[in-house]
Symmetry: C2
Subunit: 622 residues, 2 copies
């Protein structure tokens, strides 16, 4: 093989021993795993012993960009953080866009593998191929923005990119996140707590290296074509951000409202993308090399002070802190978003956990005695904001909620479990799985617990127009959102491979079709032009298939079984549209079909055959 | 779906009722099957009842081009003839290049489905979308060249393309072939006999229709790029033809010699490509749109009259009628080739069947009493030529050999079976499977019996250079020709899908890498530009996978079992290099791995799961 032209290098950090090690990664690993999620799984399966404490020094925390991160195409800005999750006890993976991933590459590394625990708070500083651990005692306890500013100041460089945790991560909130540039989040599964458990406050990166391109002209040609396609048909993502979906979902009766009791919210208009644009939006942000600029930057002066420094709420946040809590106040949501950002806690899990508590409050499972006097009622914005901060600080009732809905519900008892809407411990994101059979599968089967970036939402692909974008996968016929045939399960499986590949190559779904301008075949062309590989969609899809199988093996090692591939009863047993039985998720019918399609046995265990087929037989040996 | 821009039309012919029917083929079938082998299997499985007589009127004879046949790229000249094989009793498929396939498309049809039997000899004449059956009583019994000339003359058009049979097909020689333009052969599995059994002497086609291209400029750009690559690195295929391989194989000890008893032939130089070029070659022929011109045209005046009209011997023919019979006389081989062409019998099966008889003669299982006085000794060129003609005429001992080695050996008894080197009734082609584990699998597993176009020969892909060409399949590591790991079986399986896809889209392996200039990704680009599909290698590979599964189902219906996935004992039990146990084909070790990889059960039966995955559940219902 030719030597792959990029860094081809990972950095190993042992925080306990304060040592660094550089490792050359054979090109074959890049080809098999690309980077991100799949490459992280490779190292986790090889090097992390099962059944360890996710918040113990033994956990292996990985930051991984991909083979093409930092090359000039739009959309490849994302990097993965992975470890054993303190929220689920299983595989933990979260991607973030922004600027940190490309900068890591410019600094000379494709990935960082971190083990051990620093004796006292530190941060990691990587510049132009050199790494050092620096004292972070003065940063410990600081909010995100302050931390960010202090590090930039003391390193004397405003172009440093910083991935960091807030007090939430320090205090091991089980859904603490990691942010970069304050606005981009490795949001889910509590990887901020893993950082906190290691006394690692931040990773600052800076480098001057330019990514070599195998065929610069061809690379530019693909980018140009994609940009031109975007200009011709820009859609509304740039103008309205992810919140563009609010009104349509509400009209369809599938806007998660009051802890998923309803799908319609009477104040939807007050919190939608159009309203944000017309009121609190002051700027549009973006990620490395991306012209779409879907990120929001909002400013509120009254009754709260919301600073554009923390960006603005995404769709997920608007719904989680908004309609899911029965709150129709965009300013309060923006404030909640800022508190989450400052404390470094995942907005989806935070909102869902509060909505859970609100339903418990409504059902009188908890009262103001439990909440420290807060009237945790649906629609009470002030109560929501207080709870967000209390979670970030692990204060009072917030200390219980910081354990996540699953543990909190178990501790509360009295039937609270019925209102804890999670899969494998991770709360559902803001998409209603009832009436969308593929999404139900996605939630139930995601190795990281309920996740909306595990596979696309079926309605998009239920139309010929939506489907056209993924024709290269051989999915030729549109399938209704309610379809539960083998064909639907197959479409889901293929799209799950596809999205897992995105999460390995670090590609944003909003730049890829059908949400953005980059079609699958242009993706292949781009990878070939950038790397000099002669790859194909056939080979790239196998990366996604590897990812699924490796994540499955990771969870099986940790004790998960097929019984964990499920959804809260609210989604399988309660009709979303009363009187319409079809609007329950028919999970039991679809699951065996999925296992069969994956080449897993009836217990959901990958067979030796499929592992050999994917070159994983050595990787999964324990 | 957009309506596919080509013909999208098949012609159904009922010879018994003398009726025609046109049928519009839904575009989804083209996408799933492309054409050729896979499309033929679709119709055979749907419409041919199992266990019928392959030489009875019930057999369904299919001529099928593909979605892109007749478009301007090099290499897409091939069309498939398929039916139940009278040689194997299983799936019969044979491809031929030349000009007939494109002309069928120009005449308005993508495929012809023929059933029934004409009362008396007829030929089919298709011009510009119109079909008629014409009397062929005067053509019956005529050799190929005479038939060809007479049809052209009576239809008054020298640009007519004709697929026809010779007396071999009329007399139901079980390995009779079909030729077009006298030089291109649907050689194997006896489809000429199926034509003969239907009293169908020929199919003449002519049309003025031009194939519409979805994106003409992009189509031309791909063609241009491929042609430029070819000009830069033309290799030796044009200069030496397929016979270029003779000397290298002989040097490697794997040139099939004296019925595979040896792999070295002392007269190899006398029959090699270089010698042909320097002696009897008078011209180089080619197929539609192909600049490679690998076809030979040879002329001999003495001691035989060999006319360039019949082209010249390919590698397979040179070895089958040459070294395999111990014959080192190129002129005799050229004469044998001409007789085979004139009588319309497959040169590979003819040569192998004669070599079998020669070994029987050597072992005194037969004597001159059986052969009508012919001394059937290895090396006896005159005896070989006499036997070729006798087979074509089904005369004397030739009448027995015309049944094929399997039946002939059974009838002879006395251990003759040990020298009948066939799989599923079809004799081995001229590549030594011992010491090439992948080729052993290819022969044993080919649904049409031993076939050298079922998957490529592993030594090509055992080098990094050879492998580079198929990198898009994700086969990254070269594997030795002797490798028998799961990886080798996987490589074989992928390449089998790949080649089955070629046989469905009508692509010649000598234009595709590593033998020619067309790489897999350019193939994808070309198909997209020509058809307007947004397909990918992922989807195209599935066509090949469908082909394998459908052919398997066809054979299972006919009574074949896993026991038929085998090789003659000579290859599994006898060392090719004496003393080297590795030089036997380790079939029993590899077969279960193959079934597993295919998603077949341990009896080699495709599981419901894999059939659903490939959208075949309705197709294979019987």
């Amino acid at each position: 093989m030719d030597v792959f032209g990029h860094n081809g290098k990972i950095l190993r950090v042992d925080l306990s021993r304060r040592t660094f090690e550089e490792e050359q990664v054979p090109e074959i690993l890049y080809r098999r795993y690309l980077g991100g999620g799949a490459l992280s799984l490779y190292y986790l399966l090889k090097e992390l012993k099962p059944k360890g404490d996710p918040l113990g020094p033994e956990n292996l925390l990985i930051f991984a960009a991909s083979a093409v991160t930092g090359t000039p195409a739009l959309g490849f800005s994302r990097y993965t953080v992975a470890a054993k999750s303190p929220l689920t006890g299983g595989f933990g993976e979260a991607e973030a866009g922004g600027w940190w991933g490309p900068e890591l590459k410019f600094a000379g590394f494709d990935a960082i593998l971190i083990k051990g625990k620093a004796e006292k708070p530190v941060y990691l500083w990587i510049k132009d191929g050199k790494a050092e651990l620096r004292d972070a005692s003065h940063l410990w306890g600081q909010l995100a923005a302050e931390t960010h500013a202090m590090i930039r100041k003391e390193l004397g460089d405003d172009r440093i990119r910083i991935a960091l945790i807030g007090p939430g991560g320090e205090k091991l909130v089980r859904f603490a996140c990691i942010s970069n540039e304050l606005k981009h989040f490795n949001g889910r599964v509590g990887l901020g707590a893993v950082m906190g458990s290691k006394n690692l406050k931040a990773i600052a990166v800076r480098g001057e290296k330019k990514m070599p391109l195998f065929a610069p002209e061809k690379t530019r040609a693909v980018v140009k074509e994609v940009l031109e396609a975007y200009k011709k048909n820009p859609g509304t993502m740039g103008e309205l951000g992810t919140a563009r979906a609010v009104m349509a979902l509400n009209a369809g009766g599938i806007l998660p409202t009051r802890n998923f009791v309803s799908g319609s919210f009477d104040k939807a208009e007050a919190i939608c993308g159009e309203t944000m644009r017309d009121t609190i939006l002051v700027n549009r942000g973006t990620c490395y090399a991306c012209p779409i600029r879907c990120k929001r930057e909002v400013k509120v002066d009254d009754p709260y002070k919301v600073d554009p420094l923390y960006g603005g709420p995404e769709y997920e946040t608007i719904v989680a802190l908004g309609s899911l809590c029965g709150i129709g106040d965009l300013k309060a949501i923006a404030m909640g978003n800022q508190i989450c950002g400052a404390y470094g806690i995942d907005t989806i899990s935070t909102g869902t956990t509060i909505a859970f508590a609100m339903e418990c409050f409504e059902k009188r499972i908890i009262t103001t005695k439990d909440t420290g006097g807060i009237k945790l009622e649906f629609g009470n914005a002030e109560a929501m904001l207080q709870m967000v901060e209390k979670i970030g600080k692990r204060e009072g009732f917030g200390n219980l909620l910081a354990e996540g809905v699953k543990i909190a519900a178990e501790k509360l008892g009295k039937g609270a479990e019925n209102y804890a809407l999670h899969v494998k411990g991770q709360p559902l994101p803001m998409h209603e799985p009832r009436g969308k059979t593929g999404l139900g599968l996605a939630y139930a089967l995601s190795p990281t617990g309920a996740d909306h970036l595990e596979a696309p939402h079926d309605p998009t692909f239920a139309s010929e127009a939506g489907l056209k974008c993924i024709l290269p996968l051989g999915i030729i016929e549109p399938l209704s959102a309610l379809d539960l045939s083998s064909k639907k399960v197959r479409m889901f499986t293929y799209l799950q491979n596809f999205y897992n590949m995105f999460n390995s190559i670090g590609l944003c779904i909003f730049t890829a079709v059908p949400f953005g301008p980059l079609p699958p075949n242009a993706l292949v062309d781009y990878v070939n032009a950038a790397t000099g590989w002669e790859t194909s969609l056939w080979e790239l899809m196998k990366v996604g298939e590897r990812h699924s199988n490796m994540a499955r093996i990771f969870n099986l090692r940790e004790g998960f079984t097929a019984k964990d591939d499920t959804l809260p009863k609210r989604f399988t047993d309660v009709e979303q549209i009363p009187g319409n039985k079809k609007s329950k998720v028919p999970l039991s019918k679809m699951m065996p079909k999925y296992y069969h399609l994956r080449g897993w046995d009836s217990y959901g265990v990958p067979t030796k055959r499929i592992l050999k087929k994917l070159d994983l037989e050595d990787v999964v040996k324990t």
